[in-house]
């Protein structure tokens, strides 16, 4: 067995943190992605503009910088505000941005932009007539979305979603710069302490691969779920 020099439990903790971060950010990213993809296809010019700038800028700035800006820049901004209050009113407050929340929010915002592009393409692939049928029977916009547009769109979105998730999972390692100890950070610490540069890559790689295996399985189930009612004609080119 692998001798982890006693770092096993902390690596496990780190991997749990990684998983929590990844799942919560995924949730936020999917939400933001759906919202901004809908905004891009809406008739309101303002909403469209906001959504386009969002994806353009967020996909433009490196993740690391966004993390620094949102967490530390945000904190400095808040501090400036509380300082002003202190100087003016002599009330001392310190509002602390929570690192875990900041991590989830930052990664969620970043991947929301990628999801937005994925969902936009998928929304466009849904036949407008099917949505109209929903409206024609008096369904509210939300009902049309939930019962028709969303399930039909997911079929087209799943492959892109899978790739985004795989990248997101690894991006969680970014949180070490805001003071959280995820799996990668613990491994890096262990490496520095033991001077064994390769040893700790093994548990990290295995941890990620394990999550990847579970997600491959989940995505397979989702594909089956959203393929219901469609006959697949895809691979017929090779026979």
């Amino acid at each position: 067995m692998l001798d982890l020099h006693g770092y096993g439990p902390r690596l496990l903790e780190g991997s749990l943190l990684t998983l929590e971060l990844a799942l919560l950010s995924l949730l936020l990213a999917v939400l933001l992605g759906l919202l901004s993809a809908s905004a891009k296809l809406s008739s309101s010019r303002i909403l469209r503009g906001i959504a386009h700038v969002y994806t353009l800028v967020i996909r433009g700035v490196p993740d690391l910088v966004l993390m620094l800006l949102l967490f530390y820049g945000g904190q400095i901004g808040i501090n400036m505000a509380t300082d002003w209050i202190y100087n003016e009113f002599d009330v001392d407050i310190f509002i602390n941005i929570n690192a875990f929340v900041a991590g989830v929010v930052t990664i969620g915002i970043i991947f929301g932009a990628y999801m937005s592009e994925t969902f936009r393409g998928a929304f466009l692939a849904v036949d407008e007539g099917l949505l109209e049928a929903g409206r024609a029977y008096g369904m509210r916009p939300w009902a049309v979305f939930r019962h028709i547009r969303f399930p039909l769109m997911m079929r087209h979105a799943l492959p892109g979603l899978g790739n985004n998730w795989m990248v997101l999972l690894k991006t969680t390692a970014l949180v070490s710069i805001i003071g959280l100890s995820d799996m990668v950070k613990v491994a890096a610490e262990a490496t520095k302490a033991t001077h064994e540069p390769f040893l700790f890559m093994i548990p990290v790689a295995l941890g990620y691969l394990l999550i990847a295996s579970v997600s491959e399985w989940c995505f397979m189930k989702l594909r089956q779920r959203f393929d219901i009612g469609f006959s697949s004609g895809g691979s017929s080119w090779n026979n």
Partner: protein
């Protein structure tokens, strides 16, 4: 602003300056000295573990009030943050593989060599300015990466601060590496005055409190006993 409690940021591990013991508590020269300083100054101190990438932003965003993490004082950095008086002056040293024949690193002997350094450190600045034209400087994120790449044969020599290099190359890779040439603490332009505690620029008073405590510890012998605990062979000042 008055401090009763001071939060001190530290990046671990960095043996023997700061690291976690198997039982989870922090240890190291920085940690022990920091605690002694706080006690002397009648402050309550909390250590905040923070990765290097976010340590300066964290100070500026007031996630903590001081950094005590083997930071070398120099003029470039003084423009951004406030340093205490140096509490230790580690020299910088050259490291080579055991079988290397290089003895005195200078312009002639380093010609065409691959020199490994930690990116952006004072050692990096020094070799870049002194030997940048003759040798090729390879920059790494950690001293361990320098060690591995020297073992892999891509580096001929490394220039690191002595405690770090000793821990990463000499102590942990039994017999594969050695130090060569003189250890350097001069010129001050590069190597500054040594390690200092970092504060936000406006926290002059807090820095003075720490400076006063440091002077007291030095004169009452506490400093020396801590020092010899961590550096029994005493290569630094």
């Amino acid at each position: 602003k008055d401090y009763d409690t001071v939060r001190i940021g530290v990046d671990i591990p960095y043996v023997p300056m700061e690291y976690r013991q198997p039982d989870g508590t922090l240890a190291g020269f920085d940690i022990d000295l920091g605690n002694a300083l706080c006690e002397q100054a009648k402050l309550k101190c909390n250590w905040v573990i923070q990765g290097w990438d976010g340590i300066i932003p964290g100070l500026q965003a007031r996630k903590f009030d001081a950094i005590m993490s083997s930071m070398t004082i120099n003029d470039d950095r003084k423009k951004q943050i406030l340093f205490s008086d140096p509490y230790m002056t580690p020299p910088s040293a050259w490291f080579t593989p055991e079988k290397s024949t290089l003895e005195t690193p200078d312009k002639a002997s380093l010609k065409g060599m691959n020199i490994g350094v930690q990116r952006g450190t004072v050692q990096d600045n020094y070799v870049t300015d002194m030997f940048g034209d003759e040798a090729s400087i390879k920059r790494y994120a950690t001293a361990d990466d320098v060690a591995v790449d020297m073992e892999a044969g891509r580096l001929d020599i490394a220039f690191l601060d002595y405690p770090t290099g000793k821990a990463a190359l000499v102590d942990s890779k039994d017999g594969k590496f050695k130090t060569v040439g003189d250890m350097l603490t001069e010129p001050k332009k590069y190597f500054g005055e040594g390690f200092g505690i970092a504060f936000r620029k406006r926290d002059r008073e807090l820095a003075d409190t720490f400076n006063k405590a440091l002077a007291e510890l030095k004169s009452n012998g506490t400093y020396n006993s801590l020092y010899s605990k961590y550096f029994p062979d005493g290569n630094t000042h």
